[in-house]
Amino acid sequence: MARMTETPPAARPPSQPDRRSLLRTMLLIRRFEEKAAEMYAKGKIHGFLHLYIGQEAVATGAVAAARPDDYIVSHYREHGHALARGLDPGAVMAELFGRSGGVSGGRGGAMHLFDASKSFMGGYAIVAGHMPLACGLGLAEQYKGTQRIALNFIGDGAVNEGEFHESLNLAAVWKLPVLFICENNFYGMGTDVRRVSAVIEVYKRAEAYGIHAEQVDGMDVEAMYEATHRLAERVRRGEGPVFLEAICYRFRGHSMSDPEFYRHKDEVQRWRVLDPIEQLRARMFDAGELDDARFAELQHEADAIAGEAVRFADASPPPEISTLHDFVYKERSDA
């Protein structure tokens, strides 16, 4: 362990969030996703597209409260986490377009974003399959004796897979530096959690493994920030994994082809009232930190970034056929 070179610990995020910056990030995610939906309708994006609209507070608050080199290991609904971590919006959009300028050169697509330079270790579309990977990243940091932790985002659908249970047990028994964040939006595709989960308070499942677990209002970005900040530091102190259940809601369908027969419009409406962007905006208005003009400016800024992302993606050429067999294994010339 001693022979491992210690990288200097990354900047510690302040204990009080920068509200303006949180608002910026959430607005960007919202606008980016709306643009992505438009591009899907226009036939620029193919295959499957799962929007994060409604859940912006979870990724925004959590990622802002983590250190910039903490690993992010996300589920497949991960555009928000990628943008919150600071992946280039143009490169993310280009990946959604399947272009060479995308974060994985157009190979991965929407569910498989990735940027190692930002410790963004990917979106994963095998539900719960990424949990042992997050544990492994954490185990390596523990072995190296660093301060770095892994944030592992999962959906409520993941909690009934074997890997969920295997990972919680493993993380607990080895005291791994992993902060699990479950985005409980009450549905896995069209299935209501109450029909498939015996215990719907997901945090209680983590408690069963002796893991410190909490529930947080995932529609409130500041609550997300506070909880993540506090719990990440606890994980960093080597006290073992922590589990945070963020109660949230997706405003759009599961994917772009979801008729949404499984939930009532009134239910969606009740949650829309809790729009995370609107909540923060109102709070900042009340505190005199924001006015209509400034808010419009921030919206305009998000719109411009998302628009530029689309332009970049659209101008990016498709990947060359000749690259198809690159990186099946490490190239000898890579040394």
């Binding site: 193919h46 295959g47 499957f48 497949y76 990946e95 399947g98 272009r99 157009g106 190979r107 991965g108 697509g109 929407a110 569910m111 498989h112 579309a125 095998i126 539900v127 719960a128 659908g157 993941a158 009934n160 897979e161 074997g162 890997e163 896995g188 595709m189 069209g190 299935t191 029909r195 498939v196 989960s197 027969f261 499984y262 498709p318 990947p319 056929i321 198809l324 067999h325 099946v328």
Partner: protein, 326 residues
């Protein structure tokens, strides 16, 4: 007769068999809503939640409980959403289902069907595109079927449901709404095992299965206009395999091309080629050819790359011309 799509044929088979057998039930993720591809649309309303079970998101358990039910007087038909998500269930399929009858010295049966959508061509990228038949057909004790027409889709699903052993039923997701056919009203089955000659010709032989068999047949029709007359053999079932049909088809023309969407190395085409080499060697006029997806670890998302990799009607026709000219 009625015009039916491939997925309607599957749904009809499920519904008719549910009507016939009160001990049959269907289970899977989101299937009460109709399932990802809507194969079970309307079944909840018709049969109720005790026979149309929404499971937790847990593939290993879906297959495991199906084995348990099958052993205990029920006829479970499980749906896994995508072939790519079948791996968590491989342990149950391979370690348990496949050995059930053998290990119990015929004491237990496992009359279970696991329906699994497979295949690429829908821009599904790395986790929504795979073909997994070679891995499953490798395991003795499992039956593996891959129908290529709506007629077979219905008849073979019915046969699978009535089969006393575990049947893996692989359905190409691109076939669901693309393939349509007039189907007879009412009950019929298509037996598991026998291959089917889709076309007879004396110049070359093409052997395939699943959606690729359909593409091969289309390519063969095209080539007939050019004066190349092909035999097209649709295997329909990979396990148990109709070896005699393979040998006879290869012998007939002495030139065999094998086509599948799964990647080349270790693909099922290797098995077919070996059978031809072992049993039809003296009748061969050309080396056995294989057309398959090149070996890459993941289907790329970009459409041009995906199209470049996948066997298509054009590529099949080219390979057929090439072989005919040998």
């Amino acid at each position: 007769m009625a015009l039916k799509t491939y997925i309607e044929a599957i749904r009809d088979a499920l519904i008719e068999e549910m009507d016939r057998a009160p001990n049959m039930l269907v289970l899977g993720e989101d299937i009460q809503e109709g399932g990802v591809f809507r194969a079970t649309d309307g079944m909840l309303e018709r049969f109720g939640p005790q026979r149309v079970l929404d499971t937790p998101l847990a593939e290993s358990s879906i297959v495991g409980v199906s084995i348990g039910m099958a052993t205990n007087g029920c006829l479970p038909v499980a749906e896994l959403q995508f072939a790519d998500f079948a791996y968590p269930a491989f342990n149950q399929l391979i370690s348990e289902a496949a050995r059930w009858r053998y290990r119990s010295y015929n004491g237990w049966g496992c009359p279970m069907v696991v329906r699994i959508p497979y295949g690429a061509g829908i821009r599904g990228a790395m986790y929504h595109s795979q073909s997994i038949e070679a891995m499953l057909a490798h395991v003795p004790g499992l039956k593996v079927v891959m129908p290529s027409t709506p007629y077979d889709a219905k008849g073979m699903l019915k046969a699978a449901i009535r089969d006393p052993d575990p049947v893996i039923y692989l359905e190409h997701k691109r076939a669901y709404r693309m393939l349509k056919e007039e189907l007879p009203d009412g009950d019929y089955t298509v037996p598991i095992g026998p291959a089917r000659l889709r076309r007879e010709g004396d110049d070359i032989t093409v052997i395939s299965y699943g959606l690729m068999a359909h593409e091969c047949l289309q390519a063969a029709e095209e080539l007939a206009a050019e004066g190349i007359d092909a035999t097209v053999l649709d295997l329909r079932t990979l396990a148990p395999l109709d070896r005699d049909a393979i040998v006879a088809a290869a012998r007939r023309t002495g030139k065999a091309l094998i086509v599948h969407e799964d990647n080349l190395t270790g693909g099922f085409g290797g098995e077919i080629a070996a059978i031809i080499a072992e049993h039809a060697f003296d009748d061969l006029d050309a080396p056995v050819r294989r057309l398959a997806t090149p070996d890459v670890p993941a289907m790329p998302f970009n459409g041009a790359l995906e199209d470049f990799l996948l066997p298509s009607r054009e590529k099949i026709a080219d390979a057929m011309r090439d072989l005919a000219a040998y």
